[in-house]
Symmetry: C3
Subunit: 160 residues, 3 copies
Amino acid sequence: MNANKEKTTIVLFSGELDKAIAAFIIANGAAAYDHEVTIFFTFWGLNALRKDEEVYVKKGFLEKMFAKMMPRGANKLGLSKMNFGGMGPKMIKHVMKKHNALTLPQLIEMAQEQGVKLVACTMTMDLLGLQKEELLDGIEYAGVATYLGDATDAKVNLFI
Amino acid sequence: MNANKEKTTIVLFSGELDKAIAAFIIANGAAAYDHEVTIFFTFWGLNALRKDEEVYVKKGFLEKMFAKMMPRGANKLGLSKMNFGGMGPKMIKHVMKKHNALTLPQLIEMAQEQGVKLVACTMTMDLLGLQKEELLDGIEYAGVATYLGDATDAKVNLFI
Amino acid sequence: MNANKEKTTIVLFSGELDKAIAAFIIANGAAAYDHEVTIFFTFWGLNALRKDEEVYVKKGFLEKMFAKMMPRGANKLGLSKMNFGGMGPKMIKHVMKKHNALTLPQLIEMAQEQGVKLVACTMTMDLLGLQKEELLDGIEYAGVATYLGDATDAKVNLFI
């Protein structure tokens, strides 16, 4: 941690495409302005970090159900508004492509390239039965104490 | 920008009446305490800034669909809870009137009178096909860099 | 108020179990690190503070309808995702129990024991027709000015 750098943290609690895009646009913007940026993924926000292929890990019954019901990765998220059974995300992706906007997987990749710290909340991973093998490579694992440590040093702290 | 003034920023991402009311009550409160306040409207939050009459501008097919499906202005927003196909907003508006609480359009007007900076996110305007002619007069237009500049100077930064 | 202590504030606007749990986990974490913590309950967030028994107070018609339709207390909240008509909260409660995680009522109790300031927003109590007798003991009552006073002194300010 560099004491002279501005710091920004985002808790990504929500598992929707539009909110995840907003979180990564702010995070990438802040990183471009040389902030140290942390995104802390908790609850449904963890779904944005899932690998899109199925990963075979040993799970209990409820954990299997959660795994099946929750969207597997950044490409599968729905919208918080006007989801229309999946039509909404298709429309948004279509207009984003038309405007040459980065997709969510590209935004995540850019964040990793810019050194944005992506942290999966280990407590909610436990609750939802998500295991490290199921999440993207190159991310960190921590709990609320680590988040609070970063947030207390930051000027911009958002909960999305 | 006045270096001695407290600063407050709000990202209004959500397009619901109750969340927009909360955003403007906090913004107007902060302005009354002499904070410099910015509300940055992005994604569905932009709908709170739409003029309530139809504005004729040239649009592509998807942009027309978005324009039709999204609520046109502060008077048309739904609730995040208990919307009941539009009954919920009617109930809330009724109790607000009974308690002499300001309506959302009145809260927006008060914000503008108090010098709260209302900024429409140009990137999401592009995506959703919203044009300046369709939004309220007297607002500003900017991107995430401007938001981050304001937020880095502010103590209170909220994402709603 | 102690000028040397870090301060954290959370606006709990949402009335869902998962969001309330997230709010209290962050609040209890911050209190454990010796922050002065305020949770300001407004709109649907107030439902987390309702006593779970029915309290007989004089109300108008709309206020009675709100009281009936809104969840009565921390044990009755739904989920923001995968609610499945009440199955989702049962699943979450089940996995939380399995992992020995604290329930929401336990998290609230711990917050009160740690001196987290729980503040009910009087303006939205008025709107929704909620009266002090219906809310938990030991909480405070205030408006947006009090919230802003706390938030301006705090480094971590979240809207949930």
